[in-house]
Symmetry: C2
Subunit: 122 residues, 2 copies
DNA sequence: CGGGATCCAGTAGGATACTG
DNA sequence: CAGTATCCTACTGGATCCCG
């Protein structure tokens, strides 16, 4: 193992950044947020997360389901009805992310301003 | 002209997920963590963030600099020496991210387990 | 030492059409 | 309604060479 790294950083950044990349995927957190209040059906989510295609919504939900963040419940009615709900794991993620989201919300304007100035100076 | 600023986002976090995607980029947070203790030089960071190419380190640092997370200081010595340091903005990001990182560290095993079971059931 | 310039592969993201 | 199936584009990540 690499014992030469002189930082007392959180151990195993590699595994953690794996989670980050999922969180950072374009639609993941918006879907999680859409489910925070209560379970919702496919097209309800699609309506809330404006701009998402049904393809991307399907993919995002599958990934979240795969990780155990979201539970999928199929009702054998006609027409078919599918509910998606956050699991406890998913809810705890949403809660942890909320703080980072708050940071982003507060600093968004400054970051955009920094970018503009950087791009102009170039 | 400001085409980049979303005017209205009722529940939507389009601007926030923009920050998330940067945080989720493969190397961004590992570089930030590498700078948390003190400023460091290019090849120091490269050594700490094992596996990163000089190309990707350059790109990542440029993006962080662009957003005002990192400050770049060039010393006109021979050989040239460049220091990278977190700004206050960068440090506050690191702090906010730490909590999400802690969440990821705690739940990583469970998530991996969920994935395995999901993939088997397929 | 600290990059920039190229080129290249893989994947995320998206548009559209079709289906049980 | 809730998806699959295709096909396509753009961007992320990386390897390599070069340069002051």
């Amino acid at each position: 193992m690499d014992m030469t790294t002189p930082i007392d950083a959180p151990r195993n950044c590699s595994g953690v950044s794996e989670i980050f990349s999922q969180v950072g995927e374009k639609w993941t957190m918006q879907v999680v947020v859409a489910l925070r209040e209560r379970p919702r059906r496919f097209n309800d989510i699609k309506r809330i997360v404006s701009g998402i295609s049904q393809q991307m919504l399907t993919r995002t939900l599958r990934n979240l389901e795969r990780d155990g963040m979201v539970e999928r419940t199929v009702r054998a009615t006609a027409p078919p009805q599918v509910d998606y709900a956050l699991t406890e794991l998913g809810q705890s993620l949403a809660e942890s992310v909320r703080q980072l989201a708050e940071w982003a919300r507060v600093h968004r304007a400054v970051i955009h301003d920094n970018r503009s100035r950087y791009d102009e100076r170039r």
